[in-house]
Amino acid sequence: MRKDITVVAEQRSTRGKNAARRTRVAGQIPAVVYGSGGESVAVAVSPKEINRILHSKTGHNTIFDVQVQGGEKTPVMIVDWLNEPVKGNLLHIDMLRIDLTKRLHVKVPVHTTGDPVGVKIQGGLLEAVTREIEIECLPDDIPESFTVDVSNLSIGDNLRASGVAIPENMKLFSPPDTVICHVVAIRTSETETAAAEGEAVEPAAAGAKAEPEVIKKGKKEEEGEDKGKKK
């Protein structure tokens, strides 16, 4: 979905991890703009603006404008991003130039509504297997998300990508048999505890510490020995 946001980017002349670290210390993050037949440009952008885009309702599917050093505004989309594993700070993003007249492939989140019969009455659990489906559409037609009603699902039932209502101007690109969500029976805590205790008892009952099987070298070694003997 296109939004009226302009991100100002500075072109980077330096490369490598040291320069990237310096960029981050200065309050910006390294980024790259590529695609649509143009050259790849290394830039630095403000992580605040990018985080605002990534955490918006349209998320990474937001199409916004990037202006590199006072040049022309180019419509782009965030196609990849890297977060620091512990604190979660944004470290780097990839921006893809978008041709607004060409169809493109995007991943759109799928949300569920309603309480499934399998959860409400049968006491199962609704498990989300795939949270995004890939579709093909024009950049202006990218939806925020798809919503599917799961109230009819009972234990053992599932909802597949083909069951998501997709408008005519879009095409499903994910395999149609991709499971979006299913209702599964929950193992009760009593059985879980019993199983856990059972597992804990097993090694003690065996007397010695259980050791896994060691894969032996086998045939190759024997052949090697035979050759050695022949010589």
Partner: protein, 138 residues
């Protein structure tokens, strides 16, 4: 207790534990997760204790995923043994957990229940952990 079924070698060298968990640091299955904040060797017993604590806490409902597997054998020499005479006997299994690694994931419970369960699980582990959720951007 978790351990490999088959191994190529019975004993391993200790290895290095530097760096962060660049892989396995985002939620993949559930809505809530327990993230390690320091580096440690987490033993099979600790993983099992944390799992049992979580399962008992959420009682009925919810699903738990264990995202780590103890595939590294650790050895120990018997007590009052002189140094030398080779490496000790395999004693247990550990997994090398680096900061940022998601240890457990949970789905099918509300945030308060998940938080309480994760807190109990974290107490069974040798490192400080924090709960992450998909809403936060996990």
């Amino acid at each position: 207790m978790l351990m490999p079924k088959k191994v190529k070698y019975r004993k391993q060298q200790r290895g290095r534990r530097a760096g962060k968990a660049w892989r396995g640091s985002t939620l993949s299955f559930g809505d809530y997760g327990l993230k390690a904040l320091r580096v440690a060797w987490v033993t099979d017993r600790q993983i099992e204790a944390a799992r049992v604590a979580m399962t008992r806490s959420i009682k009925r409902g919810g699903k738990i995923w264990i995202r780590v597997f103890p595939d590294k054998p650790i050895t120990k020499k018997p007590q009052e043994t002189r140094m030398g005479k080779g490496k000790g006997a395999p004693e247990g299994w550990v997994c090398v957990v680096r900061p940022g690694k998601i240890l457990f994931e949970m789905e099918g419970v509300d945030a308060a229940t998940a938080s309480a369960a994760m807190k109990l699980a974290a107490q069974k582990l040798p490192i400080p952990c924090k709960m992450v959720s998909r809403e936060q951007g996990g």
